[in-house]
């Protein structure tokens, strides 16, 4: 396993936020607050590691993925790739960095041009140096992700969801990236497929020296293959720790409840399921202070006033909670 801290970070995400501004007024537009889709989320991705972020749908995972790649422009905060601030890059240099950071979209089918055959999808994504002998490389990529070469002439309409997903991964790999951001699908029956993809990614990781950010809905499939695990809640990363550490000592009350509710994760204090009252808030009506306070057992007056700082509780174990 990679011991993350002694390696250089490939990607630094610093207080990243993504807001959608709201307007009101019939004749004159006036700002009326914003939807806070993603809020001050910070973490680092180290070379060669598998970082899994878990959070239910609506917790900002997809927005995080798109914001990291600067496919959606962040409201605040910044993303650094090997020390370069992505927001400072323009034109050719931005495109070059984008090729190094590849995303496998949550909805793999929607991310494929409906009229473009698989072969063309891959050909277009090839690194410029490889366009000389594209066919061999395309076959190689298909083999890498276990995508049948017979399907290369098909358009997405003729492919299954699983095949679209593999094609999406092959397209990401075609650019010879350093980082793969994998946004796992939301369908509840996708766990098994998700596990397969995770295993595949894990094996590709070492041969292609990839760093991988895996965004998943539930912690169970992710756990076995992760180096570090982060937990997202209502648009913010609220805890981040090495996998073992998080299983043993989840610090944030939400992480505790989430892990307790997930079968197959050992080492929790007591074995009882902690039930959370209520539901996750929507981006339009986040509670003030700590976004978890209406559901938290340990809530204190300070929790209603200010959001908790992101800090290290112990080396490598980050959390955002006043009471830790």
């Amino acid at each position: 396993m990679v011991t993350a801290e002694n390696l250089a970070p490939v990607l630094q995400v610093d207080r990243l936020s993504y807001y959608i501004p709201l307007w009101r007024g019939y004749l004159v537009r006036q700002p009326a607050g914003a939807l806070r889709i993603l809020d001050s989320t910070s973490f680092e991705l180290y070379s060669g590691e598998m970082l899994v972020l878990v959070g239910e749908s609506g917790s900002g995972k997809s927005s995080l993925a798109k914001t990291i790649l600067h496919l959606a422009s962040p409201g605040f905060g910044r993303v650094m790739y090997r020390g370069q601030d992505l927001a400072q890059l323009r034109g050719e240099s931005l495109r070059a960095v984008r090729r190094k950071l590849q995303l496998v979209f949550q909805d793999a089918r929607a991310a494929l041009n409906p009229i473009m055959p698989a072969r063309e999808v891959l050909a277009e994504a090839l690194a410029p140096g490889e366009r000389i002998r594209p066919n061999e490389r395309i076959l190689e990529l298909a083999e890498l992700v276990e995508f049948s070469p017979a399907l290369l002439s098909c358009t997405p309409g003729a492919l299954s969801d699983e095949q679209c997903r593999r094609l999406g991964l092959a397209r990401a790999l075609a650019a010879e990236p350093e980082v793969i951001v994998y946004d796992a699908p939301v369908r509840p029956d996708a766990d098994q497929a998700g596990l397969g993809m995770l295993r595949l990614l894990r094996s590709l990781q070492s041969s292609l020296s990839l760093s991988c950010l895996f965004l998943d809905r539930s912690p169970s499939p992710a756990y076995r293959y992760a180096d570090r695990v982060g937990v997202m809640y209502a648009g913010r990363l609220i805890e981040l720790a090495p996998q073992e550490e998080l299983s043993r000592h989840p610090l944030h009350p939400y992480s505790q409840a989430l892990l307790a509710a997930t079968p197959g994760i050992r080492g929790l204090p007591g074995d009882k399921v902690l039930r959370l009252p209520g539901e996750s808030p929507r981006p339009g009506n986040l509670p003030g202070g700590c976004r978890f306070h209406p559901r938290c057992r340990y809530v204190q007056p300070v929790c209603l006033e200010a959001d908790a700082e992101w800090r290290q509780a112990s080396p490598g174990h980050w959390v955002a909670c006043h009471m830790v």
Partner: protein
């Protein structure tokens, strides 16, 4: 592809089989001057097809009308597509807004009213009055533009909508993520998809272009079928009205066929589906 065109063309037969008798029936029962008790004669060698002395068949009223429709359609599509593109790429700027306004105008104003307006403006500029020389292409411009205006507005709006929608799709994001430039992305991924959307929805716009053209012709005094058609109605020339109805119905059905063939040529999947 030729099989598809053939099969699609065969469908013209039943359409015409419905149109011809029903036009006949309507004329028989109509209480106007059109009904004088005589039977209907087949529209064989009418003045509609008569070319002027020493002219070709293209200069007969029918030929003139078809030419006007073709030029109108070409102008509508040819101007509408880039306008929609400009509007979509310049989201929200003044160009986008003025194109949108123009499109709403073109779509909502009937050709008849627009033709009147254009004539009014031309008169005000001192350009109208004398009968224009229809041999000159410049004289065509105004009626052809008015004929194509509905199609122009429609095309621009569909292109704009389809592009905006496609720009927000994940596959556009994916193209950006691959490191394509904005221009490569639009050209390689979006234009063709947009064009498919346009051709898929072209049928009603093309048929209404055909059916709207005779009014425009009549207002401009263009030497096509439209003028003769109006005269025929006013003077109760039944055969002429009947032939006119049939010719227009045929052209409208043909326009639908052209739109379908265009759509199928771009999207093979569609071809297979419609063949079934």
């Amino acid at each position: 592809m030729s099989a598809f065109i053939f099969r699609r063309a065969v469908w013209l037969l039943p359409i015409m089989l419905v149109v011809v008798p029903s036009a006949c029936l309507l004329l028989q029962v109509s209480p106007s001057t059109l009904c004088d008790g005589r039977g209907l004669v087949l529209p064989a060698s009418h003045s509609l097809f008569a070319a002027p002395e020493n002219g070709s068949g293209w200069q007969s009223p029918v030929g003139n009308s078809i030419r006007l429709m073709l030029v109108g359609a070409a102008l509508g599509l040819g101007l509408g597509f880039p306008m929609g593109l400009l509007a979509a790429l310049g989201r929200g700027n003044w160009l986008d807004k003025s194109i949108q306004a123009l499109c709403s105008l073109f779509i909502s104003l009937p050709g008849l009213v627009l033709a009147g307006l254009v004539l009014g403006v031309m008169a005000w500029m001192g350009k109208a009055g004398a009968t224009p020389d229809w041999e000159k292409p410049a004289a065509w411009l105004a009626p052809a533009l008015v004929t194509g205006s509905g199609l122009l507005g429609f095309t621009a709006r569909i292109v704009n909508e389809a592009l905006l929608q496609a720009l927000g799709q994940d596959y556009a994001l994916a193209a950006r993520a691959k490191g394509l430039t904005e221009r490569e992305m639009v050209i390689r991924h979006l234009l063709r998809n947009t064009w498919i959307t346009v051709t898929n929805r072209l049928t009603p716009a093309l048929t209404s272009l055909v059916l709207g053209s005779w009014l425009v012709e009549a207002v401009f005094g263009y030497p096509g079928m439209g003028r003769l058609f109006v005269q025929a109605i006013l003077q109760g020339e039944r055969e002429l009205v009947w032939s006119g109805v049939i010719i227009y119905a045929f052209l409208a059905a043909l326009a639908g066929l052209v739109a379908d063939v265009l759509a199928a040529a771009l999207e093979p999947r569609l071809r297979e589906e419609r063949q079934r």
